[in-house]
């Protein structure tokens, strides 16, 4: 009996190891190929001093290993298109995170203790924003903004603002669900105690409710930030002439790719990992006990 159990465990462990390899191998390969030289044939015909200054069209086959170089990192960081696009994306993502979290927090507070019958219409609207495919939201936003501008001169022209507006629809719903789940889960006993002791609604909110909601608020803001920063589909249709990081990344992937893209992607990956670790530490420090359940809901 004991023996049998052990082999089952070993089989599951082996499978899990395979799946983790499947998840991480492509990312690892991408990071390794950020250090790849252009192919020898291409280098023979290239006479510049900086081998990473080679034009994308001449670079040759870079999916096999040609030798080690670190120059793609400086090439990527000095690229005239990538860095401004990354800054634009960071700005939009920060704004999207703030707006989505505030909208989501307000709605979550009111909805959590509302009668189910009153809550139902709002809930269906929220789920609708999550179920409608992103490509549909993207094209609908595109024609909406173009028509609103043509006929009513309302809303900004296509650009950063329209990207932001389109992304907040989805992110506000996600933020609301995350914050509300925690709010409902923590009950109202402490709030009631505060009221009984003579604390007013605002003071109670500031001193009791808000601190206890903080882990969920941080999670919602981080998630909105990630979703917005990572989003290609909405900006692809509502960007006008604005370039975001996913947009330049996408065109690089489809046309003229150099390992400089790998280098920048690797830097981003590193920064993301640092952010995840910092968040985990912060959440642990804030006395809120974070169990597997919370981690499970974190990226949703």
């Amino acid at each position: 009996m004991r023996r049998r159990r052990l082999t089952a465990k070993q089989a599951f462990t082996a499978w899990a190891v395979l799946v983790y390899a499947f998840l991480f191998l492509p990312i690892l390969v991408m990071a390794i190929f950020a250090f790849n030289k252009p192919s020898p044939a291409a280098l023979a015909g290239f006479h510049g001093s900086d081998i990473c200054g080679i034009p994308p069209a001449q670079i040759g086959n870079i999916t096999v290993w040609n030798g080690f170089t670190a120059c793609w990192f400086s090439a990527g960081l000095h690229d005239p298109t990538y860095i401004p696009a990354i800054l634009t994306s960071l700005q939009i993502a920060a704004e999207a995170a703030i707006i989505s979290t505030v909208l989501g927090l307000c709605a979550a507070l009111a909805l959590a203790r509302m009668k189910p019958r009153l809550r139902a219409p709002f809930d269906s609207l929220v789920y609708l924003t999550l179920v409608v495919p992103e490509i549909v939201i993207a094209v609908a936003s595109l024609i909406f903004f173009v028509q609103a501008r043509n006929h009513f001169h309302a809303f900004p022209p296509l650009g950063k603002e329209t990207i932001l507006i389109g992304q907040v629809v989805f992110n506000a719903s996600v933020a609301m669900l995350i914050i509300r789940a925690r709010f409902v889960g923590m009950g109202d006993v402490l709030e009631e105690a505060a009221y009984d002791l003579g604390s007013g609604p605002l003071a109670t909110f500031r001193q009791i409710t808000l601190p206890r909601l903080m882990p969920a608020i941080v999670a919602a803001a981080l998630l909105s930030f990630t979703f917005s920063f990572d989003d290609y589909v909405v900006p692809a249709f509502t960007n006008g002439t604005t370039n975001t990081w996913p947009i330049v990344l996408y065109s690089a992937v489809r046309f003229g790719l150099t390992p400089a893209v790998n280098a920048l992607a690797t830097i981003m990956l590193g920064l993301t990992l640092v952010a995840v670790v910092v968040t985990a530490v912060v959440l642990r420090r804030s006395r809120a006990r974070v169990g597997p359940q919370e981690v499970a809901t974190l990226p949703l």
Binding site: I27, T204, P292, A296
Partner: protein, 295 residues
């Protein structure tokens, strides 16, 4: 998203509810007004225009006349576009089944066999999800490249085929499936399995009769959670299918990018939403039925 929904009700302690309350802290209903306004203008507004566009008539390049023209919908019903819808749904279904087959054992392994490293294992599942979707798809493209090692040395040359699209779907959406299933496995009472095996059940019978039944809601939620975005997928068929294997989402995008046939693109969008709504409604019916008879 649905996972976050399931957890709440548990924490309401019976002792606290039994006591009669003089007063219940509530937040005012007007706090919902900002998001309600936002959704109305920036979500329902675009959706309404989408419907109006799908019924409009194209006149020349880029100009159109509003009306009640259903010809766009007739065009969708042609064999060409029906086959694209069919392909999209079949591929999303296949991707979902693969995600279940690959992901369920991993979730089971984490919940059943791990204790100290459970959080770490879970975090490692989540990490790829926090990295860029595009970068992950691109990373897969490097591996599958016809000039790369997998194609040259192993003989697996599948880039720009439906197989590459299927691999891309599973690769990108696997974490999203594992998380809700893990959450439901984590809630499970493993002593039930012990009791069943003590009473003579074989391990697999115990798994089928207890574990599988109790975690089925999590599996269904996870499956829907990956099926919906897979059906609307745009990036994966473009990058890994290379335009040879388009989903409905790509055809919609083409109508707005290159073809400039916006009424047809709008009608396709409505069609895609209708196709999806069938599955969502089925899920809601099953979920409410379970709430009535289950537990």
């Amino acid at each position: 998203m649905a996972v976050a929904e399931k957890t709440p009700d548990v924490a309401a302690a019976p002792a606290a509810t039994r006591r009669r309350r003089s007063f219940k802290p509530r937040y005012p209903a007007w706090l919902t007004v900002p998001s309600l306004l936002y959704y109305t203008v920036f979500f329902l507004g675009p959706m309404a225009i989408l419907v109006a566009f799908s019924l409009a008539t194209q006149q020349g390049f880029g100009s159109l006349k509003y009306g009640f023209d259903t010809s766009q919908y007739h065009q969708i019903a042609s064999p060409l576009y029906l086959s694209i819808f069919e392909r999209t749904l079949v591929m999303a279904g296949l991707g979902t089944v693969l995600a279940i087959a690959v992901g369920y054992p991993v979730a089971y392994w984490m919940a059943r066999y791990l204790s100290t490293y459970k959080m770490l294992a879970l975090l490692l599942i989540v990490v790829p999800f926090w990295t860029s979707f595009l970068i992950r798809t691109y990373a897969l493209k490097i591996i599958l490249d016809p000039h790369g090692y997998l194609a040259k040395d192993v003989g697996i040359n599948i880039l720009y085929t439906k197989y590459a699209v299927a691999v891309g779907l599973v690769y990108n959406y696997l974490p999203l499936f594992i998380l809700p299933v893990f959450a439901s496995l984590e809630r499970m009472d493993w002593t039930l399995i012990e009791a069943a095996t003590d009473l003579g059940a074989r391990p697999f019978t115990a798994f089928r009769e207890i574990t599988l039944r109790l975690t089925l809601p999590g599996v269904v939620t996870g499956a829907l959670l990956v099926f919906i975005p897979m059906t609307g997928e745009y990036i994966i068929p473009n990058i890994l299918g290379g335009g040879n294997y388009e989903f409905v989402g790509n055809v919609i995008g083409d109508q707005f990018n290159q073809a400039q046939n916006q009424p047809f693109g709008s009608a396709l969008s409505i069609g895609l939403m209708l196709a999806l709504s069938v599955f969502v409604i089925a899920y809601i019916l099953v979920a409410t039925k379970e709430e009535q008879f289950g537990a």
